[in-house]
Symmetry: C2
């Protein structure tokens, strides 16, 4: 365990912030009260100027780094990038990572009990947007008595929340770091999400979202949704390099059991996801992705949407990412430039696809480390 | 109806060839007897030298052109391209289009009765390969007393059968026309197929493939499979042009009903497919796609696999096709060139994606029309 503790933030414990005040949501509904679960890594400096907020992606949660106990098999989801001396350096920064509303095993979500009825929220949990998440994240900021984040950082759906922060609370962040994201989903992105949702809601064990009360889970639907996600997370080249057309048994069996290695991989990914994720949460997360479109209010003019921004941006994309390709990141960069904002852009040559943002390609790590080093200097940490 | 008859082959009638001889299959099993259903368009010349065989793709069947009755809402699946004066000109050619073994509502398949047991084949129908299909198509050729096809033509999975023909029966075709195909599936292609299959086999109404006997169909699974297929048939650009992020109700509803036009389109495509296609057939077709790999026997050397070929090739690809991109067609062309074969190649600039092979882009039509004109001259028709 010594190694773990040296190279990671070590043992961490989730903290719960109970919010007793009602919060209005974009859908028109209100959450009368809710919990936000978060973790922190590193130390807040005396000036309270070195805090970084991490926004998570579709299947993320508050547990971004370190271990929950000595026997944990795996660390947090972004442990490769957050820790002492790592890309997001906990020797210099105080890192805050929360679970978004609507999630599973963390902040209040469909699997929580409705305070008025005592029943599981299930399908009654309101549909959420990136705007709602950022609003709740700002409540956490206030509770932590942090006047301004040194940076807000996120990949994929997390990067969308970063953009939303920069527009909705311009004074509350000095830097915005948007990784492997897009300014809005394409029709094809929405199509993938819709098929995943249909897989879930047509599963007979979905029970209109009330499966908790039937003591079942829509395993098949959630499994298919995750398998589908994996196609978009990995590049075609990565799949070729990883699996090619390798046969699992070394020869063709002419049957419907697993034949190619890639089938085995996908089934495993799908099945293991079911044990750690919630179908209603999956629905909510994909809807938030679909809805994200900051330029909707400005008639499609993204530069106009960025008008209020004061944060300086770092935008990062990966050449092999076909879910949110570099072209999508350049749309963000171009709009920021057109709006007269300060933005740096790194396009990282990569092989693996969208999931590269979770890993540690040197050009990626160096870009963020260099940028964040200057952010830390500026924060006096 | 006059217009229909002028611009199409008019009313056509399917013909059934009953094959009483057993046929050995690649999987090691044997079909003791089977039916092949086909249609013909145009007239066989006296020299019997002007016959073209059409090989169909995943969801195709024998009904490629014309109408079955005066009130048919739709003509055959390739009616835009087959007919008097069309790309495949029935004024000059005798066109033969059959339903492949394993299909639905045509040749013998899972929905047929097993001659020994009297039960539906269902999951007992043997797994098929392009090699098996071509073997059965050669039986039809023989029954029609055609010594050599002037050309064998197919798009997508149909194009794979064309390649198989050129390797397995080199003397039986003068020309091979391979459209929007690939020399084998990539890991990503297989991944899409596997998810479609998992959607079907995990549907509780699949009943291990014996759903006919339960008087149900695995609607949900087949619907998801088709929705998924449609993502790969349309290019991202085509989806953008067709749907963009258009909202169906003109505004966001914050719910799980159809929100974006693309969702509506996909649900419609999925649902209407269920009424005209069979889940067991879908499984078989995707397996045949996965298995196709003529270079498997030559250790991955496609040029070596093409060694027996005597047919002259035309290979056509579409720039916006991301299911089988132009790069995949160029692999075929390069291997043919390396093998010293005669091959023409047309890369058609297109917007719509894989499905462009069913349509009539001028460069596409002109390429095929020009090529087939020379084939017709050569055939003396």
């Amino acid at each position: 365990m010594a190694d773990r503790h040296t190279h990671s933030v070590g043992l961490v414990e989730p903290i719960t912030l109970h919010v007793g005040e009602p919060m209005a949501l974009d859908c028109g509904k209100t959450l009368s009260q809710f919990d936000l679960v978060y973790e922190t890594y590193g130390t807040l400096n005396a000036a309270r100027s070195n805090a970084i907020l991490i926004c998570h992606a579709l299947s993320g949660n508050h547990h971004a780094a370190g271990y929950h106990n000595e026997t944990d098999a795996k660390p947090g989801w972004w442990d490769k990038c957050i820790g002492p001396g790592k890309m997001i350096d906990t020797n210099r920064f105080f890192v805050v990572s929360l679970a978004n509303l609507g999630g599973y095993n963390g902040s209040t979500g469909p699997h929580s009990l409705h305070p008025e009825t005592g029943r599981y929220y299930g399908p009654d949990f309101p549909v959420l947007t990136c705007g709602d998440w950022v609003r709740s994240q700002d409540i956490l900021r206030d509770a932590l008595d942090i006047d301004q984040w040194a940076a807000v950082v996120g990949g994929s759906l997390g990067g969308m929340q970063v953009m939303q922060w920069s527009i909705d609370y311009p004074d509350r962040l000095a830097h915005a770091i948007v990784i492997a994201a897009a300014p809005k989903l394409s029709a094809q992105n929405i199509a993938f999400n819709e098929i995943a949702r249909q897989a879930i809601v047509t599963d007979p064990e979905f029970h209109g979202g009330r499966y908790y009360e039937h003591d079942v889970v829509p395993r098949r639907g959630l499994m298919l949704a995750r398998m589908l996600g994996h196609i978009t997370y990995l590049s075609d080249e990565a799949m070729r390099a990883k699996f090619g057309r390798d046969l699992r048994a070394g020869r063709i069996n002419y049957g419907f059991d697993v034949e190619f290695q890639v089938e085995s991989y996908l089934r495993y990914q799908g099945q293991s996801f079911v044990d750690r994720f919630d179908a209603n949460t999956y629905l909510l997360m994909t809807k938030a992705l679909d809805y994200f479109d900051p330029a909707y209010a400005t008639g499609g003019d993204l530069a106009a949407a960025f008008a209020p921004v004061t944060a300086r941006f770092l935008v990062v994309s990966f050449s092999s990412d076909w879910r949110f390709s570099p072209a999508r990141s350049r749309e963000i960069v171009d709009a920021l430039v057109d709006a007269g904002k300060q933005v740096s852009y790194a396009e990282v040559t990569s092989d693996l696809g969208h999931d590269d943002f979770l890993l540690t390609l040197p050009h990626y790590v160096n870009s963020l480390r260099g940028y964040l080093g200057r952010v830390a200097d500026e924060a006096g940490t």
